[in-house]
């Protein structure tokens, strides 16, 4: 029962995390390989203030604000780069954040991480049940926000920019402004996912926010189907349940420590196969298949 709850909570956090990336990658066509950096910023922001005695809701709000502000600061110079260069810069950004967390010991305790992060508590429920309810509500609310944003003229213009930036500029769209706002919003929700994760796990350290997590969240978006609301939900459910399912492989005792490596290899393989065979993911964007 507790393990089932754990899987469900992880799925919800990844749904929020991957949906926030989908806003950038799927709708605006921004290949942000540094999204995990905002997840880390959110996790640390909320952890630091709640450990200092502030309430969790304040910590979660702060995680969104800090991630959004850092997102703006990140986007401003980096969006002058295009395509591959933007991807490389975003990858470097995530690594920079991880190294900052690792080395600024006065603030983050460096590699020792932050233990004892307050757990979510409501109505006297067990820790996991309380976390499930709060995370479910916040994830649902966030998805609702994404739906409103993406079905609005803002979302439509994002698609226009993704489809043809040249046309967007010719018709008066301030492309940089749209991208900056998208990264700020995506980062805010990525930060919220990080904050929720910190309060659920109870302990964070810089190495939790590695390249592997980047690959995992990109896989959730790409496998499910980028540019669709439902894609990252399905992708997250599959990636988390299959990843956890691997723990039950009947491996010899000497190999059980290697499950994490098997997971990484499998996810990498799936990502490559997807790119080759079904780049649009399981849930194709409505019109993708009808293109002539």
């Amino acid at each position: 029962m507790e393990y089932g709850l754990h899987i469900l909570i992880l799925c919800l956090i990844y749904i929020l995390f991957s949906s926030s990336l989908n806003l950038e990658l799927g709708y605006a066509g921004l290949y942000n390989f540094g999204h995990v950096g905002f997840f880390a910023i959110g996790a640390y922001s909320s952890a630091l203030v709640t450990v200092a005695g502030y309430p969790i809701w304040g910590g979660l709000l702060l995680s969104m604000v800090v991630a959004a502000v850092v997102g703006l600061l990140f986007a401003w110079p980096v969006l002058r780069l295009t395509g591959d260069y933007f991807g490389i810069a975003s990858l470097a950004f995530a690594e920079m954040i991880r190294l900052l967390l690792l080395n600024e010991r006065w603030l983050t305790r460096g590699p020792m991480g932050i233990p004892g992060i307050p757990r979510i508590e409501i109505l006297g429920l067990s820790a996991n049940m309380a976390a499930l309810i709060v995370i479910f509500l916040l994830t649902t609310l966030s998805l609702l926000c994404f739906k409103i944003i993406l079905s609005s003229p803002f979302g439509r213009t994002l698609k226009l920019i993704r489809e043809d930036e040249y046309v967007a500029r010719a018709f008066g769209k301030n492309v940089v402004s749209f991208k900056i706002r998208t990264i700020a919003v995506g980062s805010a929700f990525g930060g919220l996912a990080g904050g929720l994760w910190a309060h659920y796990i109870g302990y964070i350290s810089p190495n939790d926010f590695s390249l592997q997590l980047t690959v995992l969240v990109i896989l959730c978006v790409v496998l499910g189907g980028r540019g669709t609301l439902f894609g990252p939900i399905l992708g997250s459910l599959l990636v988390i349940t299959v990843g956890e399912g691997l723990r039950f492989l009947p491996l010899p005792a000497s190999m059980t420590a290697g499950v994490a490596h098997i997971q990484s290899m499998l996810f990498g393989l799936v990502l490559v196969l997807l790119m080759l065979r079904r780049p649009q993911g399981i849930v194709a964007e409505s019109h993708l298949l009808q293109e002539t």
Partner: protein, 256 residues
């Protein structure tokens, strides 16, 4: 209306435009720009729209200097364009290809999206109504919900005109609007352009279809190897020795 003064543009060692000076006035509904392939027509359009920065010269539109303005800001001045290769938003519906165009829209502000939904809905309704009116004019209404990628090449060219109409521009740069489309659609296009000119819209037309240029354009400009070699009526262009040489490479008359 549009004043280009001594525009020069070079790519590497290739001088694409050389001291081109053009003055389009408001009284000429459609001005044609013709010239052999590689004469610099599309480059000139890109300079006017701000996609290329000229090496020398100035661009003024309705008295305002555009040189430092980005393409999106030039659009706000009332300039619009279509593209030689019909840049359709193929994964968006035909309707969305039009509704996405007007700028600014209230719903493009995230704050208004969440806190003034009624204003956004009202504006969205008006934009959709206008889009459907344009689709009716273009005979594309029945395809409104289809992906633009499913349109034929000719229909895409018509939809491009529709996109332009969504912005109510003062001057439209049309880059080979009839290239690759059948005579029936060309006739539809001609009728649409004539309707729009009656509403006050002005066009600067790059076209290789010389009979069409003769039919539509009161004034023709001819570019050859980046230089403006003719500025006058279509009739006079057909008899101009320099123009004939540029097109045919020897003396002779263009049979139009």
């Amino acid at each position: 209306m549009l004043e280009l003064h001594s525009i020069s543009k070079q790519f590497g060692g290739n001088q694409v435009l050389h001291n081109v000076t053009i003055d389009l006035d408001d009284n000429t509904p459609i001005t044609g720009l013709i010239g052999p392939n590689g004469s610099g027509k599309s480059t000139l359009f890109s300079v006017v729209m701000g996609f290329y920065q000229q090496d020398k010269g100035t661009v003024h539109f309705n008295g305002k200097q555009l040189d430092t303005l980005s393409p999106d800001k030039r659009c706000h001045q009332g300039l619009s364009c279509t593209f030689q290769d019909s840049r359709m938003l193929t994964f968006m519906t035909v309707l969305d290809n039009l509704t996405a165009i007007p700028t600014p829209q209230a719903g493009e502000s995230l704050i208004k999206t969440f806190f003034s939904p009624r204003q956004v809905q009202r504006e969205e309704k008006a934009i959709k109504e206008k889009a459907y009116e344009i689709l009716d004019l273009l005979h594309l209404s029945r395809l409104a919900k289809e992906p633009a990628g499913s349109l034929s090449y000719g229909q895409r060219k018509l939809l491009e005109i529709g996109r332009v109409m969504m912005t109510d521009p003062k001057l439209v740069l049309l880059d080979e609007p009839t290239a690759g489309i059948n005579p029936t659609l060309i006739q539809s296009l001609v009728e649409i352009l004539q309707t729009l000119t009656q509403k006050g819209m002005r066009f600067f037309l790059v076209e290789h279809n010389i009979p069409l240029v003769n039919q539509l354009c009161d004034r023709v400009l001819v570019l050859d190897a980046g230089e403006l070699i003719f500025n006058g009526t279509a009739e006079a262009a057909r008899r101009d020795r320099q123009v004939i040489q540029a097109y045919l490479g020897s003396d002779g008359y263009v049979d139009a």
